[in-house]
Subunit: 526 residues, 2 copies
């Protein structure tokens, strides 16, 4: 580090012309420094070209085998590229195979077949309003316009949606469902902004398996190489900064995968990495457990950050909590916080309920009367994360609302006042505060009265943000440029969110932008 070591003047150093002339001859030397830097806890990315003895060479390297990775791989292969997927587990599937089985699409043949009037335009109207003003409008448009084609892609993969229409509020896993309201379409103000339509295309009780297994079969049928037990750990760049491969640990052995065209990151979110959740969580309220697969550790996000990628929407952690289960009548209860006020329309989609709990928590209660008591016990056969807290919670019981309030530590005047107002709304058939659907309005009048704790700790979380990408699924650097040779899709990226709009929007986003990543990666020159 002393002055005598200086061999080049600053002028040489910063002159591009000289620099590139020199670079070609020093490839090996540059690369040699990286492991040293790594040993010192430094994230200098590898810079290398032909000097690595590659273990595997392919055109397009896809990291992660869930919905996004599968969709990307299939399109890249169909685009003429040789494709290799590296997947850390022995079977793939990630959160995709665990999911509720909804894919959110509008203007599809299934909707037409089941007599649902819908269109790309109405879908876009709903999604735009529901996601909120800060979502990427261009990405939302592409998602919606591609909807019918995304549907066809699913059908071509062999995904089978149920052929029944459910006009109630949709929860995942209800046997036989084909098409359901899986978002907030029926709530104020959305029902006035877009014509409500069921857009949650469901694999019924097949859930995530009904999505992932057909995709996996398609990947195999296309002749795409899948390397299981292969954990990608680091991106490799050449001296121009282009991503040219990845360092992958295969059964404990460090291997080098060369991607002549591009690397596509599709390793899913960071739900299971509590440090990352805490670093990005906006709220100071406690919350429940994570919803995700054990490998949702954010490794692809970090790999991107280490090569200078920017992040987007990391704070958009989705907190979910449903007031209805398989039996939706539980939504006739009212949800009140510690001040005794109602905090939301109780039929709202879970991400809105979760948000309301986070903003008004930690304590909240579902309050109802004897007429509803039975319903709560019946909703336990929904997936745990949706109705577990309803079914399993302790119950408070009292002969009057005043006594109930005292048990809950809520000001009795306030709770009485809230119940009285709600009962008036029920009598007039119109919820003047939150516009809950009239069929869920029923007076809370017949003692005994009940309450179940339903505070912010009932809200389960999933990450949504990730690497900043553009609508071509390129990864964008901190300085705002495309990182050459690098794509990302699915939950390790972040494009359309915004508020989480409803069940099925994540998988549909994974497929839409995974496919775009695959198509663009295949079109790169090797």
């Amino acid at each position: 580090m002393n002055e005598q070591e200086s061999k080049f003047s600053r002028r040489d150093f910063f002159k591009g012309a000289v620099a590139s002339g020199v670079a070609a001859t020093t490839v090996g030397l540059m690369a040699a420094c990286s492991p040293q830097a790594k040993g010192k806890g430094n994230d200098t990315p590898l810079s290398s070209t032909g000097d690595i003895a590659w273990d595997v060479e392919t055109d397009v390297l896809v990291v992660g085998f869930g919905a996004a990775g599968a969709s990307a791989a299939i399109e890249a292969k169909r685009g003429g590229a040789e494709v290799t997927i590296v997947e850390t587990t022995e079977a793939g599937g990630g959160s995709t195979v665990l999911c509720g089985g909804f894919i959110y699409l509008g203007g599809t043949p299934l909707q037409e077949q089941l007599g649902v009037k819908d269109s790309v335009e109405e879908t876009l109207k709903y999604m735009t309003a529901a996601a909120g003003p800060y979502a990427n409008q261009e990405a939302l448009k592409i998602y919606c316009e591609n909807g019918p084609d995304t549907y066809q892609f699913c059908i071509d993969c062999g995904i089978k949606f149920g052929e029944n229409l459910d006009l109630n509020h949709g929860v995942s896993g209800r046997a036989g469902i084909g098409l359901a309201y899986s978002g907030n379409e029926l709530q104020a103000p959305y029902r006035d902004i877009a014509v409500p339509a069921p857009r949650g295309h469901s694999t019924g009780d097949a859930c995530g398996k009904g999505i992932f297994e057909p995709m996996k079969k398609t990947v195999e049928a296309e002749g795409i190489q899948v390397v299981y037990g292969a954990n990608a750990e680091r991106l490799i760049r050449d001296e121009t900064g282009r991503v040219i491969g990845a360092e992958v640990t295969c059964d404990g052995k460090q291997q080098y995968f060369r991607a002549a065209k591009a690397v596509i990151l599709a390793g899913g979110g960071f739900t299971m990495n509590r440090d990352m959740i805490d670093a990005n969580n906006r709220f100071t309220t406690p919350f429940g457990g994570p919803i995700g697969n054990p490998n949702e550790l954010g490794t692809c996000i970090k790999m991107g950050q280490e090569v200078g990628a920017d992040l987007f929407g990391m704070s958009q952690i989705c907190y979910t909590c449903f007031i209805y289960g398989t039996d939706t009548s539980t939504a006739k209860a009212i949800l009140v916080d510690k001040t005794g006020r109602r905090i939301i329309s109780e039929t709202s989609y879970g991400s809105w309920v979760g948000e309301a709990l986070m903003a008004n928590g930690p304590e909240a209660y579902l309050v109802f009367d004897s007429a509803l008591k039975g319903s709560f016990d019946g909703s336990g056969d929904s997936p745990e994360f949706e109705a577990g807290a309803i079914a399993g919670a302790t119950e408070f019981e009292a002969g009057t609302i005043t006594e109930l309030a005292e048990q809950l530590g809520i000001d009795p005047l306030s709770l009485e006042n809230t119940v009285a107002l709600y009962n008036t709304f029920a009598e007039q058939g119109e919820d003047g505060q939150f516009g809950k659907e009239p069929e869920y309005l029923a007076p809370i009048a017949t003692p005994p009265f009940y309450a179940r704790p339903y505070g912010s700790e009932s809200a389960f979380y999933t990450s949504e943000g990730g690497l900043k990408t553009d609508v071509e699924s390129h990864v964008i650097s901190v300085s705002g440029d495309v990182i050459p040779g690098l794509y990302a899709a699915g939950r390790c990226s972040s494009l359309i969110y915004g508020h989480y709009m409803g069940s099925g929007t994540s998988i549909a986003d994974c497929i839409t932008f995974g496919r775009i990543a695959g198509q663009n990666a295949a079109a790169e020159t090797a």
Copy 2:
């Protein structure tokens, strides 16, 4: 990039021993590649040692001359280092010189002098509860324990706090204030968690000038070099990954500043960079304008990211909105949202009000009766961001609450119900919902009734998150390691937040961890 270029086997490439042997002779060559990479929009950090013709050489290079940079520079100098500050403007001061003049400390001689009973312990109790469970507990402890010493540092710099005690709610800029409640100390539940004490040490109407000018004088008196009109743009690292300097544009000319010991980033937040705000904002509600200086563009955060630094708390954007101005009686109004419910204790500190508006917005209204009408006009002499929206807003007027509700598009039953309940609380002298202080409870009973729009767009925002640092003010990489030679403090870093606890906590954090950065940087070996 073809195979023939390969000069080193993979084994050579990844063997640390070989790597370091090679590195020493290839310094100039490595560095030569970086500008090329930059031209291609890639963020490969500069890697260099003695090959740069440095324009300026110093021990500790401080980027940014606000409270954090000044504190860091003073301590580094006192620790025996040669110190240079680069500051993009011609005078420095940043947001520090614009601020309200509060420094939040507990257990100080001024408190004792003015008869306030307080301690480090009670301060920590309040701050821990107010910041919420996800704040860095170790950092909070250090902040509080250092409080009396931070106070002494300020006094030694020549900062003069007013010597009057204000037992009302503190707003900045109120002439003559020395010590005020500048957070949520008097609110439920905090008043029961920690003995309330006024901890906002104020420079009175001198505001931020009263903080920054004495610091600047101290910097000059210590013989620290300040280069104005010098914008730092990029960190420079040597081949081991250690940060050794920065690329700085001085009056349009690119210059190279060498830091033999360390670089301390102290360039402030990202409040004025709307892209960064949108990428990190958690809410879908609209909000008001930024509160910051024009150079709060997040450049120091980006410089850190480009060398692999991790981020923390970027979503902790503080939305602020006060219901009281110079005249605090305006907090006797009630704040209701579009559902007609009250949403918070109206005497709450502005960051809680802002948060409630963001969670319940966009629309909300201050509702009051003829008894309060005059107060609103009188609060206009507070700084604009605190009371502007109260003073300037359109006013709705009606003979009954029902009519007022109709004008506002609120369900009349709901608003009547809310006002009736509030009036009962006022009569009994206890706010059963939000625990507002009794002296601010007054029935809303004498027509005409009024409402002023006070929705989420009344909330102004400041960034809080930034580079991830440890309690030694080291910058931490994405892989969790200290980045050698790099420190950060103030709003380009993120340590104690959490919910914004009250006026004065930002400057106190800047001083506390700025000083620690300076002390540690001075102790590095050159």
